[in-house]
Amino acid sequence: MIEFTLWDILRNLLLATRWTVVLSLVSFLGGGIVGLALLFLRISKRKSLRSLAKYYIELFQGTPLLMQLFIAFFGLGLFGIDVPAWLAAGLALVLWTAAFLGEIWRGCVEAVAKGQWEASASLGMGWLQQMRYVILPQAMKVAVPPTVGFSVQVIKGTALTSIIGFVELSKAGTVVTNATFQPFTVYGLVALIYFALCWPLSKSSQILERKLNVAHRNH
């Protein structure tokens, strides 16, 4: 039987961590872009667009991420579309992230005082100008801590993609365990690596929250 050193295990896990990081970044950036589009639909003046975004968000927030992964992976296969695991994983995570970010950001836009809309309107600004110069700069300040906080959920969410066979950190953990028969060591290391990815983000979210609160002390 082959002996595995701790370094052998760690090295293989770290190699797989690259895919966790890539998938997290793709989900977050893609989800951010789609989320921004959802935000604009969600606060649009047209009711049909608002409803469309609302149903989208309710659908993705109201079903488990795992089901969304299964549907992206197996569901499309039923129509004869061959979906590789990485595509299904990326697609489902982008759409899932977008639903949450869109809703977080809507809350931030609505947190801006109504008087700001009225003042900018009475100065003659159109809707897009109000958004661009008055509302979004203020909403963004509020949005930073919850957005960074949610990125932690995205990283942990990538672990689910191991179930459809995408080899990221969790899947690599399973594979390495099957080869080494050392589940405690392997999953312990996996957990530590996740922690090393997530903890700095959680911490920075807390620091940002404190910082931005300080800036708001006079309001």
Binding site: G115, E118, A119, A121, G124, M125, G126, Y133
Partner: protein, 241 residues
């Protein structure tokens, strides 16, 4: 011809009618005080004039610009009438100078140096030129309100709507804001103000409009309205029995 023409304006929120057919013509250079109990519709009327509230019936025009519910017409109208709010509503993420310059550069596309020159001139006018680089939260309420006035003036409106602009201020700060308004009135600016400052209304305004239950109940020059109120409602409002 009147500068502001308000004709048969009606406005309801659901089943409650808050404006029940308002007629009011304002000539250029007039200073109008709108008084009345809370809930009488005076703020709503003011907010209808620049389209912050949509009207259900009737018409409003300012210097020929009709109030219509689309962005092009609204913008044309809002360039003619400025508005100042009870809560100041300065942009907290911009400096005082930035507040006064923003709409000039964004809406009127005024080049930045020119917008800055206008901003400095307007801030000078309200006595706050030295606060150009300060942020709104570093100013007192009275100073913030004066910046809001400068911001509205920078768009060079032909009329200003003032919605209880001293009601959120500490008593000792009221006079500095009213002094600015008094000066504007003396320079011939057309002003419509909802106010509770009866002494100010008496001293500065050319006409007083008393609103009661969504109607213009009494109109007249301040000496008439305050000294010889015709209706029991106005007598009661003024505390005369």
């Amino acid at each position: 011809m009147s500068l502001i023409e308000i004709t048969e304006v009606r406005k309801s929120y659901g089943a409650t009618e808050v404006l029940k057919g308002i007629n009011l013509d304002v000539a250029s250079g007039e200073v109008i005080a709108i008084i009345g109990k809370s809930g009488s519709g005076k703020s709503t009327l003011l907010r209808c004039i620049n389209g912050l509230e949509t009207i259900n019936r009737g018409s409003i025009s300012v210097a020929g610009a009709q109030l219509l519910d689309d962005e092009v017409h609204l913008k044309a109208l809002r360039l003619k009438v400025g508005m100042i709010f009870q809560q100041f509503n300065l942009f907290p993420h911009q400096t005082v100078g930035g507040n006064v310059m923003l709409s000039q550069t964004v809406v009127k596309k005024t080049p930045k140096p020119e917008a800055e020159a206008i901003a400095r001139k307007m801030l000078e006018r309200v006595g706050l030129a030295h606060k150009f680089d300060a942020y709104p939260d570093e100013l007192s309420g009275g100073q913030q309100q004066r910046v809001a006035i400068a911001r509205a003036l920078a768009m060079q409106p032909i009329a200003l709507l003032c919605d209880e602009i001293t009601s959120a201020l500490d008593p000792e700060l009221v006079s500095e804001v009213l002094a600015v308004v008094r000066e504007l009135a003396a320079e011939g600016m057309t002003l419509l103000m909802v106010t509770h400052e009866m002494k100010f209304a008496r001293d500065v305004c050319s006409r007083v409009v008393f609103m009661h239950q969504g109607r213009v109940h009494e109109v007249g020059p301040p000496e008439e309205v305050f000294a010889r109120p015709q209706t029991p409602e106005l007598k009661q409002f003024l505390g005369l029995h």
